[in-house]
Amino acid sequence: MSDDAREAVGDYQYGFHDPENATIRFDKGLSEQVVRDISELKNEPEWMTELRVKAYHHFMEREMPDWGNCGQLNGIDFDNVTYFLRSSNATERNWDDVPEDIKNTFDRLGIPEAEQKWLGGVTAQYESEAVYHSIREDLEAQGVLFLDMDSGLREHPEIVKKYFGTVVPHSDNKFSALNTAVWSGGSFIYVPKGVHVEMPVQAYFRINAKNMGQFERTLIIADEGSSIHYVEGCTAPTYSTDSLHSAVVELIAMKDAKIRYSTIQNWSANVYNLVTKRGVAHEGATVEWVDGNIGSKLTMKYPAVLLKGEGAHAEIISVAYAGAGQHQDAGAKVHHLAPNTTSNILSKSISKNGGRSSYRGMLQVTPKAHGCRSKIVCDALLLDSESRSDTYPTMEVGNSTADLEHEASVSKVSGDQLFYLMSRGFTEEEAMGLIVNGFFEPFTRELPMEYAVELNKLLELEMEGSIG
């Protein structure tokens, strides 16, 4: 690694400056001492250390959820997880160790070799660093703060302290407690009043998501009348040696602000993906989640919006793809806490080769929230008869002025569709790929172009070699 490169890479990391040998890895398992050590290593303020410790105890005492896929949840071995792993020497992991099928997928997605290695956690991709820096300069000129969470805490402790954990408290659930105790990485964004960030903020994270670790913590605050679109993740398979990913994302949209948060994640099949994502929308504000889940062993993720101010709006569009041995337990939660708030939920899932997708939704309208409107549409597509889909909608409606719509459908790929497409020269697999891409289109069209193209290619690859 050249010195320039090391500087670039070292820059946004956590401030460890031991260029020769900076690998820090904790033993497996969790204790109060581990939590304190993480905090100390990061040189955190006292309040954060204490919050981590409090969260740790809550995590230890909190029962596992008794809903969802309990069998799989109880299979998590918390003692066998490394809670903190960091290395400033990015070549520590060997590209040769990355499984062949994942390398092939990179190739076929058309992701260049250098980027592949970076995504595989092997080496840095310097060009992207440059892109990142130029984007940052642009944003800085507008007064936007855009840092990784650790730097955010170091450089803007007063803002972080004011908002951290206010949307997703550590005691929200067992996994938010775990995240609060051991979080590392993630993003911190503050958009000042009236500033509209025109371009989706994405390049940096496309590359760096892989190094953000398993317990990333993201906090985005859009001040009054501002707007931002944040894009996270990547369609390339996330090769993770450890099996537990538990992130927390908090969004705060002040009066008349707008936040859109788009994610696509493609986890390898050994990963438990248990994420708490929640946003608050104040008066006239909008929070939008665009959320794509592919792969993993078990995903439990229900992006939520608290509509706190009058006239606030929530938009949640999600897709899930469950292949063999996978369970996507995903959905959306919207809480109408103020009058004249509106929400739109569109959830699409595909199950194949015995995969299972569940939609778990919660819609709440409080008694004083008059004149609310909500529309929920859930569509499931089953690609074969071994696969499964189910829905668990919950509605708590506290007044009679709400206008609610709920549609759900389960469909199968029809023989007529396949015959039609095959008569136009497509193999059965290509035909499936088209049908699947078409099914996800209402989601895909919401993504920035390059993500949309990659997602389509990925789904086409998923259809290959799997039709008997």
Partner: protein
């Protein structure tokens, strides 16, 4: 006479054990337009589907040859890539897949080569113009919310782009208004001189625009009568009943 494109010999076909085609014979050469007429349920669409390779139909006897090759072992997409085309009586809806994307991918698959975006767009624009189709159609989803006539026009557009050796047109004229009938006929006439054409129709009116060489009548899964264009006129005025009468010496 052009080369032989399609040869159907003594074809017997069943669906889930029920026989539908009972000894079909038909030979089509390049440059020939054949018309099949017959009552609802006679087996016309079944013939077209079987020739194209629909997996639901079982051939219990007989054979189909395409340009000299026995089709038995060929998958549907291979037939398409070999130059066979079916314009569907009921084209399938493919939600979320844009017409433009679909057409380009289909052309690439059938031609087995990358087609350049700009060249393809030019080709597409010309074909669409000749069918008096609006460009915005390419941004709609395949057959999704299309009217009956719009679907048929899209089928013919595909035929123009794919330039098949064999065109099977199943009730392409049904549901077309008078102008559309003329426009679609123009599309068929553009392809017909260089292909074998099999047109399935209920109405003589298409044949005012597209001049067939042979007209066949199908009853109960077999051809019972063949002739020239005058046969279509006779059917139009007299119906099928005269053909039902048991043939006596």
């Amino acid at each position: 006479m052009g080369e032989e494109i399609l040869r159907v010999e003594n074809l017997h076909v069943s669906v889930e054990g029920t026989p539908i085609l009972n000894g079909m014979n038909l030979v089509i050469h390049r440059g020939e337009i054949h018309v099949i007429m017959g009552r609802n349920g006679a087996g016309k669409s079944t013939l077209a589907s079987v020739v194209m390779g629909h997996p639901a139909y079982e051939i219990t006897q007989g054979s189909i040859h395409y340009m000299g090759t026995d089709l038995q072992e060929m998958d549907v997409f291979e037939r398409a890539r070999a130059g066979m085309f079916l314009s569907f009586q009921y084209p399938a809806v493919i939600p979320g897949v844009k017409v433009g994307t679909f057409l380009k991918k289909s052309v690439q698959a059938v031609r087995n080569e990358e087609v350049k975006g700009r060249e393809f767009r030019k080709e597409l624009n010309e074909a669409m113009a000749s069918l008096e189709m609006q460009k915005s159609v390419t941004n709609r989803y395949v057959n999704d919310g299309f009217s009956g006539g719009e679907k048929k026009r899209l089928e013919i557009l595909q035929m123009l782009l794919l330039k098949p050796h064999l065109a099977l047109l199943d009730e392409t004229d049904s549901g077309l208004d008078i102008d559309a009938l003329r426009i679609v006929s123009r599309g068929i006439n553009a392809i017909a001189p260089n292909a074998g054409c099999l047109i399935i129709t209920h109405y003589q009116r298409l044949l005012d625009h597209v001049k067939p060489h042979f007209v066949h009548v199908m009853i109960d899964g077999a051809i019972v009568q063949s002739g020239g264009p005058e046969l279509a006129h006779k059917l139009e005025s007299e119906g099928y009943e005269w053909l039902d009468a048991p043939k006596e010496a």
